[in-house]
Point group: C2
Chain length 528, copies 2
């Protein structure tokens, strides 16, 4: 296609979200009318499915759950009064709590005011809040947000050390929907121990966000924590950023959560559109389908040209891969679906892997995110931008690099989408998140999978449990006879699990390296 | 294979780096003896090529350059006296400079001592230093390192704002091999403007790392900067972390750069081994080849189970994708090579995309990085690790999650490698970097490509230049006639580039959004 045909295609296909200041350009994906005609019936069925989902159907059949993240930004859409009230009441509670914290009415034990937040959570309980905090944070934030998102003792110690002098004014948010996520439980226990060591009562600095009646909920109740906020079984972790999971740290940080909810609600309205070419979420889902053959044949590379959007790729990596990466379809057929997602930011990535995108393997399609207003979060545009060359700003370069890369990819037969945001602010971020949530949901319908469960994650927890069970037996055996040194094979035999010998070996190596109950000499292990 | 066969396979194939405390496990890649036999001749040829490369052959023919990053850690290997002296002299100079900075003998204009470092660089001038600083940083660091790695005006402003109160004690390292990288130039100019605004002479806070005689070198000379360190044309950006690019910020931070160089040199020695099964770099390269068919058919997922290694995946993404992602082979045939690399850290990623790895699309192989000693950078192991359950630590969980995920992937037919580090410290990190450098070099030989150029990056700069040229003409045209408002089509016509109309449109949209020389009304643009 020559440049003028492309320009016509750009104008014809541009999917504009009007007032939100967001526009999706699909002109550099080489689909034709035939593709759109062929997909019209499936996408109409996908709209129907989303309508039923939003009306409260059990859209997550494996877990027998409704899927209600869309209600979070418009409680009136809830399928019943109870849910509507829960949403409204929780939102109000979050704001009231934050107000008290900001005013110092809810104060820590040994300081006047809370100054910092430590959110302890993993997966959906971390990625959304991390994106929001980093994307929208400024020097004027009311509180600073930190995270523990793993069970790495060194990583935990490092974060707690960095907070040491501020522990007494740090508010800890422990976030686990199930209340039983081991990484989060461990992070919480390590944090609690640090408070204890500092002579501080943990409960006077702690808030729980979890399912009612969960283990964490009980623990918080017994420990007289400051507050408990609910998580509901109809909100999945990866779509929980607009529940208490994400709203609580955001409002404490000082962000305008109403704007975020409003942006998401507006995008929800726009993406219920059944005229497909006017529905940006449907167009996204269809482009993914076109590019990957509906089978994940290509990777999705996310390239936001804005430092503040660095974590968006990681956020979408979870949203899309955990939703779409499934073994079985809804009919129980083995399909091994998914789309691999990766990326960091432009133009930085142009000096990293974009070499491969331009010249190498054509196994991807790119999504550019462009922000027109250079000065993010500014109500007024920067008037005195520095001229790095006569008449040229750093922002002109950033924009030029995006255009250059987009053209070069097109010229070498690589597809790209561009999502342009007029400005980057709380409302727009809410809308972008909603856009991708809907696109993921629609795509899942197109390929007939359950986007709302994560059986592999449960399996992962179980597999780790098996390892820890073996560890327990192993340490028990070693303790029985303190003088004997065993090989890994002998120990596996001795605990009645000869087939677990490699697991036994790795456990022993880890314990011995930490001089933790085990010593190693000449390939034999004994209790230390 | 049953568990006992796997255990035997693990022991038979383990590739141990002895004293370095690093071991590569390839037992969960289902290759057989036939594969190893078939690859023996190609890998022997690859060793030969690496020998010639290390001896100073022009291993980067397109650019007519030698490839000498291996000499950086053992100057005695240099192909001539001049290079050996350059390496030794520069290393000495770096240490002397850092000593003076630490002692306050090289001091800023209006403060007693430098406390912070701002490294301005992109691609290879940022990713390695970022990895090193984050992986090895502690609360005892002598200086804190910050980065500008893009031309995003908002991102630059945000970083400079966070340094505002410390600007007078911040040492700026401007790093660009060519001295002409626009992102770095822009970051430098914005930083210089901030110093000027603060009433500080930039030159008294600035150091250049660049090729001798480059534009940056001249600029630093004229501006009477504190110091200039050389970059040589025989060191590529993505392998420059052990040149002044990475060593200077590392030693300023207080890291033991001799240990890093020593670890790398030791790994270099081990990976010159021609008995393939004992050479971890060769085994890595061969596993990549087996898994991807020598054509990048699968993605490489990096999963370090250690928070401090979070940036390793991004570092390796550049090293591997920029090296291997090439259109042409050394014979000039179109091959479109490459391997896509992504990942963050475990077990965190188990709650993100590992759902897809376990259950979904089988289009990847995983590389686990495991650190046996839980307490990174500690000379003594943690004796009082918290028990999160009776007899169980956070680190036991981390280790259990790795084992669980490795088993589960194997059971569902997904391949994985595991690189185990006894401990994580400066020496080990140097060795891991050297291991991947050599593996990348060997793989490139196996598929017959030049791993040391990046033609696509140059093309990217050129494409952006075209956009900026059009912008300049456009603004000129608008300024000629301040009253007329044009459509994008009319303006493209007017500047004699009707085929560039879409580029014209995007430039105008960007400028109008920033109220920067252009205003838009009813789809028409005029000068503002």
């Amino acid at each position: 296609m020559d440049a003028n045909q492309l320009w016509q295609r750009y104008q014809d296909l541009l999917c504009d979200c009007g007032d939100l200041g967001i526009a999706l350009d699909v002109s550099r994906v080489p689909f034709g009318d035939d593709f759109m005609h062929g997909m019209e019936q499936p996408i109409q069925q996908a709209y129907d499915a989303m309508t039923r989902l939003e009306a409260g159907e059990i859209a997550n059949p494996d877990e027998g759950r409704m899927v209600g993240h869309y209600w979070l930004r418009d409680a009136a859409l809830s399928p019943n009064e109870t849910i509507a009230k829960d949403i409204t009441k929780t939102l109000k509670g979050i704001k009231q709590f934050a107000k008290k914290v900001h005013e110092g009415k809810t104060a820590p034990q040994k300081a006047k005011k809370f100054t910092d937040i430590l959110q302890v959570g993993i997966g959906g309980s971390a990625l959304g809040p991390q994106l929001v905090a980093d994307c929208l944070g400024t020097s004027k934030d009311k509180m600073r947000v930190h995270f523990l998102d793993n069970t790495d003792p060194d990583g935990i110690a490092r974060t707690l050390k960095s907070l040491r002098s501020k522990l007494k004014s740090t508010l800890v948010l422990v976030v686990s929907k199930s209340g039983g996520t081991p990484e989060t439980r461990n992070g919480m226990l390590e944090t609690e121990a640090a408070y204890k060591k500092a002579g501080l009562k943990f409960g006077r600095h702690a808030v729980a966000v979890t399912g009612e009646g969960s283990r964490l909920d009980d623990y918080a109740k017994k420990g007289k924590w400051l507050k408990r906020f609910p998580m509901w079984d109809w909100v999945g972790g990866r779509t929980s950023v607009m529940s208490a999971v994400g709203l609580l740290p955001a409002v404490l940080q000082g962000l305008d959560i109403d704007a975020m909810l409003d942006g998401a609600a507006e995008m929800d309205r726009l993406t219920r559109e059944r005229d497909t070419r006017r529905n940006p979420a449907a167009m996204l889902a269809l482009m993914w389908h076109f590019e990957t053959g509906g089978k994940g044949l290509k990777d999705m590379v996310m390239l936001p040209y804005k430092d503040r959007l660095l974590l968006l790729s990681r956020y979408l990596q979870q949203l899309i891969m955990e939703s779409l990466g499934k073994e079985l379809d809804l009919g129980g057929n083995q399909v091994n679906q998914g789309i691999a997602v990766y990326g960091n930011k432009g133009s930085t990535d142009q000096h990293a892997y974009v070499q491969q995108l331009r010249d190498g393997l054509n196994n991807f399609f790119a999504t550019f995110l462009v922000v027109l207003q250079d000065n993010a979060l500014a109500n007024k545009p920067e008037k005195k931008a520095l001229q790095v060359e006569p008449g040229v700003t750093s922002g002109d370069y950033l924009s030029g690099f995006w255009q250059g890369t987009r053209s070069a990819l097109y010229e070498s037969g690589r597809s790209s989408l561009t999502l342009t945001l007029n400005q980057l602010d709380t409302r727009t971020l809410g809308a972008v998140i909603a856009l991708y949530e809907r696109a993921t949901g629609l795509y899942a319908e197109l390929v007939n999978i359950n986007a709302y469960h994560q059986p592999g994650v449960e399996a992962g927890k179980k597999a780790a449990g098996v390892v820890l069970d073996i560890q327990s037996k192993l340490l028990g055996k070693l303790a029985e006879d303190k003088k004997t040194a065993y090989t890994a094979d002998e120990l596996a035999e001795a605990i009645g699990s000869p087939e677990s010998v490699e697991t036994v070996f790795h456990i022993l190596e880890h314990r011995a390296a930490n001089k933790h109950g085990v010593t190693k000499k000449d390939g034999r292990y004994r209790v230390s």
